[in-house]
């Protein structure tokens, strides 16, 4: 059985991300230097269109970087085989699978595909991992329901359970709270905290929930005007970076209440 390495060494240096076009590449962000070496809850925040999702997708290996170095545990991204990479990072994306007849259990079981044989047969340890994932996300009682019949919040939990079943040290989530109300968003963040603290995962997510991120994330990566500020959440807040980036004529960030308020 593959025990996840709890210690990970995640480094990017001078990474440049964006979209290659025929004539010249469209650079979204450049000179990105990130480093993670212990289980943390990391929130990538920034205004619409600054490149949060592009950064996450690049780090998740779903699109190639334009240039620079990106290594996990001393090995460059391009040196990983697809399967090795799939055992390092699991993802939860905004596009939720639709139009299928899978049950919740089958959906979560997809996480084990990285480890199963060509007939996708489950060993005892596979079944254990699936059960664990269902229990951690509190969807065990849904396991025989059809995925298509669930609510948005439940589906999101199933997709997170699928990522958990993939048994990777790193989980990356693109806007995991986007369709959820404040109650469910809070629940998600608490779940992410638990994954970091109890299950030693590194969780990296993009979000527009600045308030929740400031209160619950360990580290913030704030993207603004082509630059990334990375630091412990406390430092970011104390250095007034949140205010610099997000304050407008209408709202401002209050450091005492850790929330936005109308001017």
């Amino acid at each position: 059985m593959n025990q996840p390495a709890t210690h990970i060494d995640f480094q990017t240096s001078h990474l440049s991300i964006g979209y290659p076009t025929r004539k010249e590449s469209l650079e979204v962000l450049s000179d990105i230097n990130l480093s993670v070496n212990q289980p943390e809850l990391i929130a990538i925040i920034g205004k619409n269109g600054v490149g949060k999702s592009t950064l996450l997708r690049t780090l998740a290996g779903l699109q190639p970087a334009l240039s620079g170095s990106y290594a996990i545990n001393g090995k460059q991204r391009h040196s990983y085989t697809p399967l090795q990479w799939a055992q390092m990072i699991a993802v939860v994306l905004t596009e939720v699978p639709q139009h299928n007849d899978f049950t919740v259990y089958e959906m979560v079981a997809f996480g084990r595909q990285t480890y199963t044989n060509w007939l996708d047969q489950h060993t005892i340890s596979d079944k254990k991992k699936i059960q664990e994932a269902l229990e951690i996300t509190h969807i065990w009682e849904l396991s025989q329901k059809r995925f298509a019949e669930l609510s948005d919040g439940q589906r999101q939990k199933v997709m997170i359970a699928r990522a958990l079943a993939q048994d990777t040290p790193i989980i990356m989530l693109d806007e995991p709270t986007v369709h959820l109300d404040i109650h469910h968003s809070m629940e998600m963040f608490v779940l992410f905290q638990k994954l970091v603290q109890k299950h030693q995962k590194t969780v990296i997510l993009t979000t527009h929930e600045i308030g929740l991120s400031v209160k619950l994330a360990d580290v913030l990566w704030v993207i603004d005007q082509g630059k990334i500020f990375t630091d412990k959440t406390q430092q970011i807040v104390q250095n007034q970076i949140i205010s610099q980036v997000f304050d407008t004529d209408l709202i401002r960030f209050n450091i005492k209440t850790m929330n936005f308020e109308y001017r």
């Binding site: 998740a60 290996g61 779903l62 697809p82 399967l83 990479w85 799939a86 055992q87 990072i89 699991a90 993802v91 994306l93 596009e95 699978p97 139009h99 299928n100 007849d101 899978f102 089958e106 079981a109 997809f110 996480g111 595909q113 990285t114 199963t116 060509w118 007939l119 996708d120 047969q121 489950h122 298509a148 993939q166």
Partner: protein
Amino acid sequence: MSPVPKKYRLHFILLIVMFFMMWLVNISVGSVAIPIGETFKFLLHQNLENDTWQTILEGLRFPKSLTVIVVGMGLSVSGLLMQTLFRNPMAGPSVLGISSGASLGVAFFLMGSSWWGISNAGWGMQMSIVLSAIVGALGVLGLILILSYKIKNTLSILIIGLMLSALTSSVISVLSYFTTSQKLQQYIFWGFGNVSNLTYNELAFLYTSVGIGLFIVLFFLKPLNSLLLGENLAQSMGVNIRFTQNTILIIVGVIVGILTAFVGPIAFIGLAVPHIARLIFKTSNHMILFPAVILLGSIVMLICDTLSQLPFSEQVIPINAVTSLIGAPLVILLILKQKNYSI
């Protein structure tokens, strides 16, 4: 997702029983009705007392039924693969113009053969038809795949498929205008779709090639399941997307090309059978759907062929007419309930 969970075992046993029943019925029915008991004897390699029956079964109906079965399996699996690949419930060899592509290839070869001066006989001729059908099918398939990267809308792809079909048929019309009447006749007869007249040698070739294709698909059932979650998630789970897509595409192109070359374009089977399988098994799991579609494809084609013999009469209608009668209403039904379809 272990292969064939217990709850599906009864389904499969029933389908297998049904398959053999339909096969028997298919062989018994025709302008000369042969008692089912006698056909059963024939299948068990016993000699029949009635020599005429023996000749009819051995020389005509048995090879025809074998053709029908391999066509049903091949086209249905192609339909399943295309629906998954395009994540489109309306995908199928005939609907997306893949069969038309194959027809165009054959039309170019048959009607243009006077220009490139190929003699009109023998195994080499048959192989050239096969090759041109494969090239035509793969051409359209590749084109549709490229377009489906740009257009995500299910119905738009369907319309493009219809336009491609229209385009190929008009090109074929232009070709037929410039060709000799003899060549045109040759092409038109091919186009009717004909599952009889295949020799045992040709059948061996069909079964080998379709068999190899289906065998390779076995190793792609797991990645095909992941593809249903979307390309990004599949990639994140370690699936080599391009390799999977290209291999499946080539297999579909070759299977549809070869089958179309030998029996002509057959409509709707590839589209309809995967949906029937999903209705019965209520799953999207390819580990279940793949064997189910193989069985159901053979059964449905056997039924269609039996119906086309117009039991108790001496008339025969083209099998294409029967498959369309079943398939076309199904497409309309699918469009009507677009919102909650599954693939």
